[in-house]
């Protein structure tokens, strides 16, 4: 008599990977009960493929629903969700999709799908009251380098080797031309959103690096040094004032300060 652990292992193999060799004697119900397990396998596949199509409508527009569905089917087989909150599932799908056969014809596919993932994530975020510039100004010169800023939750940064934001605009406005000469060109994007809305801003490379480093939680001093190495003329103070006045900073704390 198989133990429950073995039954669940065999059922997982059947549902996720479609491997069902050891199941004949397990089930009852109907003329061929094992075939009824197919209902669960189909649900696993259909519900998650649907979830991916809903998360990546722009990518589906770009590659077609058959291609995206095929990629999603393979992805959910190799990388099943690990969390019951399906809204959080699929962060690595852009990378996976870009390795699927045929994707080499679209070298911007991964970046485009990553942009769409970020758009989806910031759109369900909420923002907090932004700190006023006076709060930053009140930080002493000695403690400023150790100060860490927390940006609004609905903020993401993406560097792409192709102008994928243009493609996204075509999708969102339904204005895609019949033919498009799409050339590689680096873009540094800031994706901001909250409560169902979003926008995509292009940044200069230095400003992008500055904001992304702040977003990663590095202290202001470390970020400033890094940017000065990148561009000696970089004005860290101006960049700092810029993110505060843009309402991007939700919290300010001095590193090592428990308060």
């Amino acid at each position: 008599m198989p133990a429950l652990a073995n039954i669940q292992q065999a059922m997982r193999q059947a549902i996720v990977a479609g491997v069902s060799s050891d199941l004949d004697a397990l089930f009852t119900g109907g003329k061929e009960p094992r075939k009824r397990l197919e209902i669960h396998r189909r649900h696993y596949e259909a519900s998650l493929v649907k979830a991916m199509l809903e998360k990546f409508p722009a990518t589906t527009w770009l590659v077609g629903s058959a291609y995206l569905s095929d990629g999603a089917r393979q992805y959910i087989r190799e990388y099943p969700p690990q969390d019951p909150c399906i809204a959080a599932y699929g962060a690595t799908f852009p990378q996976y999709l870009a390795l699927c056969p045929g994707s080499d014809r679209l070298p911007y596919l991964q970046a485009f799908a990553e942009l769409e993932w970020h758009v989806g994530q910031v759109s369900i975020a909420i923002d907090y009251p932004a700190i006023p510039i006076e709060e930053l100004a009140a930080v002493g010169i000695d403690t400023l380098p150790a100060t860490v800023l927390t940006l609004q939750p609905g903020t993401r940064y993406l560097h792409a080797g192709w102008p994928v934001d243009e493609l996204m605009r075509y999708f969102l406005t339904d204005t895609a031309p019949d033919q498009l000469e799409f050339e590689p060109s680096g873009v540094w994007l800031e994706i901001r959103g909250a409560r169902g809305e979003f926008r995509i801003n292009r940044l200069e490379e230095a400003d992008f690096l500055f904001r992304k480093a702040i977003w990663e939680g590095l202290p202001i001093g470390v970020v400033a040094e890094r940017l000065l190495e990148f561009a000696a003329a970089f004005e860290a103070g101006k960049a700092l004032a810029g993110i505060v006045s843009a309402g991007l900073v939700a919290k300010l704390a001095v590193q090592g300060d428990c308060q």
Partner: protein
């Protein structure tokens, strides 16, 4: 340790004559904007925990509507145990919205690190019973309140089962003091798929532990192993079947008036369609109440 039943009885009494609806994300903005006349709302916490905007709207609705929390990710039947991080998040949500009920399924959905996004069946035997009871106790202790367990929709059974589903549920109640959520549509569907009498199932169901009822639609499909026969699939993508409504009326007469929820999870219709379904439930409840009153000599 046994968790004492501490359901907010006043609120339950207030809502039990009104059917609730499953609050799904496509309806949430409309519900926030129009505040429809519905007795209560039930949510799947998994739709809100990773969606801060939806959570914010839910907290707003929780100020006006009684909310019931119906989990799909607490895998009480899983050999691998319960996802404690998920349970922690669930507790945090429960503390925020103080729901009238918290429920989940007699099922498993995790194996190893994989979440299988479905409610999978378990054999009904002592091994499963001990496992499910252990996990239900863990959930109740963590949440500090009773957990309702829902009977599953079934397509297959197990050779290793040694007891009926109703016996299994009765034992769970006995061992954990949990409450039960009787999904009438699941009974109707499973009785068709597995060939038993749905009314006898209701007769055997531990009525004293029932704290909530569910109704949802199913989709008939041809049984690939038996051409010409149908298998009914629990899709929640259409209206409740007439046969399930008849079984519901019988269930209400048997169990008394219990909060009832209309579930609709796929091909989600306009909100008005769901409200129409709740009106049908309300009419059946009203009929049952008037029959009871007549039996008591007040008509």
């Amino acid at each position: 340790m046994r968790t004492e039943v501490a359901i907010t009885m006043t609120t339950i009494q207030e809502i039990q004559r009104f059917a609730g609806i499953g609050l799904r994300l496509p309806h949430i903005a409309e519900v926030v904007a129009t505040r429809p006349p519905v007795g209560w709302l039930e949510i799947h916490p998994e739709n809100f925990l990773a969606n801060p905007h939806a959570m914010e709207l839910l907290l707003e609705l929780a100020e006006q509507y009684p909310i019931s929390v119906h989990t799909v990710g607490i895998s009480v039947g899983s050999v691998c145990g319960i996802d404690r991080e998920h349970l922690k998040q669930l507790r945090s949500l429960v503390e925020k919205i103080n729901p009238i009920l918290v429920s989940g399924h007699l099922a498993w959905s995790t194996q190893g690190e994989a979440y299988l996004n479905d409610l999978l069946p378990i054999p009904y035997n002592e091994e499963s019973l001990q496992l499910a009871a252990k996990h239900i106790r863990e959930v109740q202790e963590h949440l500090g309140r009773p957990y309702l367990i829902e009977n599953p929709s079934s397509y297959l059974g197990f050779e290793t089962s040694t007891m009926r589903e109703t016996e299994f549920l009765s034992e769970l109640v006995e061992r954990t003091n949990c409450r039960l959520l009787c999904d009438v549509s699941n009974v109707y569907l499973s009785s068709h798929n597995l060939g038993y009498d749905a009314y006898e199932y209701i007769d055997r169901f531990p009525a004293g532990a029932v704290a909530e009822l569910h109704l949802g639609g199913f989709t008939p499909e041809e049984d690939s192993a038996a051409p010409g026969d149908e298998i009914w699939v629990d899709t929640h993508e259409c209206a409740v079947a007439d046969g399930a409504w008849e079984l519901y009326a019988y269930t209400i007469r048997k169990f008394g008036v219990v909060p009832t929820l209309i579930e609709w999870d796929s091909n989600i219709p306009p909100l008005a369609t769901l409200l129409k379904e709740t009106a049908r439930a309300k009419a059946i409840v009203a009929g049952a109440v008037s029959v009871e009153a007549c039996h008591a000599g007040s008509c």
